[in-house]
Amino acid sequence: MYRVNLDVFEGPLDLLLFLIKKEQIDIYDIPIAKITEQYLEYLDIIKLFDISVAGEYIVMAATLMQIKSRCLLPQQQDTGPVPENVSDPREELVLRLIEYKQFKEVSITLSEIHQKRTEMLKRQGTDFQVEFQKQDKIFEASLFDLIAAFSRVLKGIPKDTFREVIKDEFTVEEKIAQLRQKVSIGAEEIVLNVLIASAASRLEIVALFLALLELIRLKEIEVFQEKAFGEVVVKKRILEFVSSNLIEQVTGNW
């Protein structure tokens, strides 16, 4: 009985290269009928295991059969003045195979380079360095970073199967007021994760997050990261005048 490890093949081109190597075929002169037959044989096995993977393999099967039929058709003769450009129907496939093979090979080289590199360790960072960097190596976190941090936190919340349904205990308005207070008193900056961890339920976290977005929009607070994918830090925005009227207007809508 056949036993096929699907992970071995990275796709239809990989399978073709495998067959070419197995049969010791010259890639520039592929016996298309034979290779098509073999390819379909493997495809049958793959289909037994995984239908979704087979989709891409089927496209290649169709391509192979098309090439096969074109090879069988007689070449045009006498019809044109010069029989120019009588191209081999297999040519395009061969070029694709060669291109793919190039990248497959170089990816193995890259893997070796990476392996070597992982054996050269670099410094892991020190407390004093963190202090140095705080002042200048900060850049503004994007909305994408915020959402990424938020979804990380959401993932971390244990899922309770049974939960009491609480009626709108937390409002965005309330959270805006809380946040405003938090950034204005003493604490210069708040780490987003810590802030969110203080919330009791998913609902509260969502309210908090919306409040945060709102305050950013109103330019009352700013968010920063020390490095890409680092902790998101929430800070009061300085030197910005915000009309209190505007806030009334906006928060009233929530």
């Binding site: 071995v8 990275e10 796709g11 239809p12 081109l13 990989d14 290269l17 495998f18 070419i20 190597k21 010791q24 010259d26 890639i27 520039y28 891409e56 290649m60 694709r96 060669i98 291109e99 793919y100 093979k101 190039q102 990248f103 497959k104 090979e105 170089v106 990816s107 193995i108 080289t109 890259l110 893997s111 380079i113 990476h114 070597k116 590199r117 992982t118 054996e119 050269m120 360790l121 670099k122 410094r123 892991q124 960072g125 020190t126 004093f128 360095q129 890409a228 994918f229």
Partner: protein, 183 residues
């Protein structure tokens, strides 16, 4: 400031820094030294470490210089610090990454054409790991996203700049017949 003094201060900087240090950054520190002098001091320090068979090395990576441990002491470090969770790349992501690295800026469809398979999952993972990034849109119908590699890619693979990527092999007939495919 002479070469010796610069070298001495560099030693402290490399010791502390977790990121590659560029000559440009150093020019702001050593105001009276030019790029040539700084580069020379780095190379002197680099050679010194090699000559005295130090377990530390200065590696040129991602456009800068960085202190790393020599790979021959890695087994001992691993035993001492424990096995780090390895950042491994699957062969699917390596193939995809290779195509992006050599063909950038490149669209997902172009990568898929070369690999012959869908690369949605792999590109997402590579994006999350900050190995590749969106570099723009191709000005064709649909304006598909163009991808390129990041500075992290250079660091992770210890490559100084993209021109230092290993050469793509030009295949001849024989190569393909005798190649040892890792299947």
């Amino acid at each position: 400031m002479n070469n010796k003094e610069i070298k001495r201060i560099l030693e402290a900087m490399f010791f502390i820094s977790t990121e590659p240090i560029t000559v440009q950054q150093l020019k702001d520190v050593f105001i009276d030294a030019d790029a040539g002098m700084i580069k020379e001091a780095i190379v002197t320090f680099q050679n010194e470490l090699v000559e005295k068979n130090s377990a530390l090395r200065i590696e040129e990576v991602a456009g800068g210089f960085q202190m790393t441990t020599s790979s021959d002491v890695f087994p001992y470090l691993r035993n001492f610090f424990g096995q780090k969770p390895k950042q491994k790349f699957s062969s699917a992501s390596l193939e995809t990454l290779a195509i992006i690295a050599y063909r950038q800026p490149v669209t997902k469809a172009e990568v898929e054409f070369i690999r012959g398979v869908n690369v949605d999952g792999v590109t997402t993972t590579l994006l999350e790991r900050d190995i590749i990034k969106v570099v723009g849109h191709k000005e064709v119908p649909g304006r598909p996203i163009l991808y390129g590699t990041t500075k992290t890619f250079l660091e992770v693979f210890g490559i100084n700049d993209l021109s230092m990527l290993p050469q793509l092999k030009q295949f001849t007939k024989q190569d393909i017949e005798i190649s040892e495919n890792k299947l």
